[in-house]
Amino acid sequence: MAYPYVSDREVRVLSEHFGDPEARTLEGARKRGRYVALKKALGMGPDEVTEVVKASGLRGRGGAGFPTGLKWSFMPKEPTKPHYLCCNADESEPGTFKDRELLRWDPHLVIEGCLIASHAIRATHCYIYCRGEFFEASSVLARAVEDAYEAGLAGKDILGSGVDIDVTVHVGAGAYICGEETGLMNSLEGGRGQPRVKPPFPAAVGAFGMPTTVNNVETLAAVPGILSNGPDWYRQWGTDKSAGTKLFCVSGHVRKPGNYELPLGFPLMDLIDDVCGGVRDGNALKAVIPGGSSVPILSAEECGACTLCYEGVVAAGSMLGCASVIVMDETTDMVKQVRRMAAFYAHESCGQCTPCREGSAWVTKILKRIEDGRGTEEDLDTLLEVTTQMTGTTICVLSDSVAAPVHSSIQKFRDEYLALIRRGERVGAA
């Protein structure tokens, strides 16, 4: 039962037990098949497990879409020092709310995925880094981890396999940038969550200076199914380049917002019109952000051709990111929303790199001025150039994320900016 709405077009692999309160108990989880894949994986060698995941085509679900099996294969095969797995539960990308659901409805799925992944990369300790606001989700998760320990599913000699893997729930304190893998590691180590320069890469020097892999919650949640059923089973869904299912977080101006698990490659308009019941109030569609606020905005015209897989969204002019579909109807004040997104980045910038630290705040101020009717056409050129200066020039890509909404909105909704500039009054708002 997905949550809060169900569509018969869904393929509920990860979200099967959303809305089912029993699934989070150990007994309930076991009844629902949890920890069978773990036992199987522990009977395999670590590299064998990695090969299975590689063959499945699973790609990172946190936004970058990096092939998971390949990422695991970067870890040293003969550990001379402790390896760590970090499960990235610092879900903070605007529009994204899938990891919270996974953690609170099916924590044992996540834990099982973490354990299997830890085994594959020869990690002795897995840190599940939950964002600080997730009091509820981390509390559920903590209980599940405790139950797992009690049942010998975590800790020493798991299920008698001789493999030792510890799991710790680590809670953050409110910073979007801690969702960046190196920012997460710095925060885990007890520091400011500022991203690190790469190289060195986490697989060489990661948390506490040790080889580390960071994976998203949804990525790890997909692992048990792949181990149990084999890579071909996972590949039955999706496309050649984008295998499997994905939790799509739909929000904004739709009738039925929520998480929907669909095979990758699903047409965007089907998602909005069929699965989500269409745009609210019968309004016309104006724009869609297909992958969270860091990706370019698609105009309504561009949505028709867009299929929701990594390559399909790129072909439509944006990126899949974490598949957070934000739907905007005709009543949307585009400039206001872009300003709000820029303000988010300015607020969350860690402040290390000059282009991001100064540029994100500057861009926000210009947009606010335009929104307030005191902008000029020159400001639009400045916005485009400044955000271009912020792209590809920093340690992490938060800076690049500011450019996406600004560029795409000026390109596709220029008339809204111009109306504000010319008439000093608001258009587009209901």
């Binding site: 910073a175 860690c350 282009p355 630290r357 920093t394």
Partner: protein, 535 residues
């Protein structure tokens, strides 16, 4: 891999069309600097770790998808790097514009003006006009304690100061607070920098006028200052410094890089201990006691009178009081003259601190217990230290000596006016007048180390040169010249015309310095010979 007979320990690459071979591990920035290039940068500093966060040093590397931070990108074989290509220049122009978004452009009232890296870079490569019309963030002025003031508005967040305190002084007093564009440098609330010993260095390394010295605040304009290489006289570490002089006054001291002695640093005690160099109470003319009265006269007349007096006395036991702050040349000439006149014990007094203060992140640099620059040099010339750790006492033997007393550079501040009243001849060579020398037969004005060329020998036997940055007052002359001239007269020899000649004379007389020349010493020093008994 290409095989041109190259060592595996080096790499060869091309920077701006020029080929260069560097040791493996060298960064692109360092390689570019080796070729004389100047890639702008803020957060990088050779004495600190590199966070690669200012994004000013990005260069174009052919084949790389993005511009690379040259301060951390290691040079690879066959790389083709462009630091001045259109892409690199436009990137720098962009980053510089970002700095100007919030920078207050205080140049007219900012101490850093004239030695400011933001001025320099923007002038060279920045946009003519920053496009930001938005209100700037304001932090105001914060007293960090010690000698340091912080103007937060001007800060470019390079975090060099934070890293210096963490890594080099290893007293982590500074941190970045807040996040994003609200981030700024601060201390732990009111705690500040009190109790630190090297925090003055953060003023040096701050590329802009965010961190300034209270001592130097509003004092001088950087472009009016003349820089002269010298050696710090504060203790026996011998940190290499520059005198910054204007209007014939030392305005401030700055460290000069010497990786074998002080790295890029100096301590606060030495840095701020320059006021005495500007003392106005100077002996300006030779003074001779004639018929019980002191008469000023010219050098020729004074030296003639002194030679006459020496001839009158014939030989006599000599007691010498020297100073551990006098140069090798001065002390060498003094020792040579004293020996010629009849010989006798030579002593010096100096202050000794109860403890030493190491710079933990650069352990070679220690504020030594010996609070004088040339104690080792004096001892190598056979002088003995006397008196207490406060630099007083120990002259009982000399005060009522009845032979010849020579005093050089010791102000005799703790001695009675009757000092030397029993002597046949009491010569006081000093820069400052002394009450206890009111009974001296000859008061001869000498230069301070800032006013002459010379050398000091530091605690570990390193001889280091210093140069004159200030014109001496009145008729003051270097002691080595005065004493050298006297000795020349007495022995029918040649007066050393330059400090180098005086040094050569001392090297001939003292084994530890045998063979050492000014050329050997250069601007970064050279060690004395260390026979076992001298070590």
């Amino acid at each position: 891999m290409a095989d041109n007979g190259r060592h595996e320990t080096t790499v060869t690459l091309s920077i701006d069309g020029q080929e260069v071979t560097v040791p493996k591990g060298t960064t692109l920035l360092q390689a570019s600097q080796a070729l004389g290039g100047t890639v702008p940068h803020y957060c990088y500093h050779p004495g600190l770790t590199s966070p690669a966060m200012c994004r000013l040093c990005l260069v174009e590397v052919e084949g790389a998808p993005k511009l690379m931070p040259s301060c951390v990108t290691q040079a690879q074989n066959g790389q083709v790097v462009h630091t001045e290509s259109e892409a690199a220049l436009s990137m720098r122009r962009g980053v510089l514009e970002f700095y100007l978004v919030n920078h207050p452009l205080d140049c007219p009232i900012c101490d850093q003006s004239g030695e400011c890296k933001l001025q320099d870079y923007v002038h060279d490569e920045g946009r003519r006009h920053g496009r930001s019309r938005e209100p700037k963030r304001v932090f105001g002025r914060d007293d960090f304690g010690g000698d340091v003031l912080f103007y937060g508005d001007r800060c470019v967040m390079c975090t060099r100061c934070v890293r210096f305190m963490n890594e080099v002084e290893q007293d982590p007093r500074l941190t970045v607070v807040e996040r994003g564009s609200r981030s700024i440098i601060d201390t732990f609330f009111e705690e500040g920098l009190e109790g630190t010993h090297f925090s003055g260095n953060i003023v040096d390394i701050c590329p802009v006028g965010a961190l300034v010295s209270k001592d130097f605040l509003y004092k001088q304009r950087a472009w009016d200052l003349k820089h002269t290489p010298s050696v710090c006289p504060g203790c026996s570490q011998g940190c290499n410094i520059d005198l910054h002089v204007r209007d014939n006054l030392v305005q401030r001291l700055k460290p000069r890089t010497n990786l074998d002695v002080n790295g890029h640093w100096m301590c606060d005690y030495g840095r701020l201990g320059y006021e005495w160099m500007n003392r106005r109470d100077r002996v300006e003319a030779p003074v001779v006691r004639v018929d019980g009265k002191h008469r000023a006269m010219g050098w020729k007349e004074a030296l003639r009178a002194l030679l006459d007096r020496l001839a009158e006395i014939g030989g006599a036991a000599v007691r010498t009081v020297a100073s551990a702050g006098a140069s090798m040349e001065d002390l060498g000439a003094l020792e040579a003259l004293a020996t010629h006149l009849g010989g006798g014990p030579g002593v010096f007094r100096s202050r000794v601190a109860p403890d030493e203060v190491p710079l933990k992140g650069f352990p070679r640099l220690v504020r030594r217990q010996d609070l004088a620059p040339n104690r080792k040099g004096a001892e190598l010339l056979g002088l003995q230290r006397t008196g207490g750790d406060d630099g007083q006492g120990g002259l009982e033997d000399v005060a009522d000596h009845d032979g010849i007393i020579l005093v050089l550079g010791d102000e005799l501040g703790d001695q009675e006016e009757s000092f030397g009243s029993a002597a046949k001849l009491f010569v006081y060579l000093g820069a400052h007048p002394s009450r206890a020398a009111s009974g001296a037969d000859f008061v001869l004005p000498v230069t301070l180390f800032t006013e002459q060329e010379g050398t000091f020998t530091n605690h570990e036997g390193r001889v280091q040169r210093f140069w004159p940055g200030v014109d001496p007052p009145g008729a003051a002359r270097p002691a080595w010249l005065i004493l050298g001239a006297l000795l020349a007269e007495l022995t029918q020899g040649d007066t050393p015309a330059r400090a180098e000649a005086s040094f050569r004379l001392l090297a001939e007389r003292h084994e530890a310095f045998d063979g050492l020349t000014y050329d050997d010493i250069g601007a970064s020093g050279a060690p004395v010979k260390q026979p076992a008994e001298l070590a």
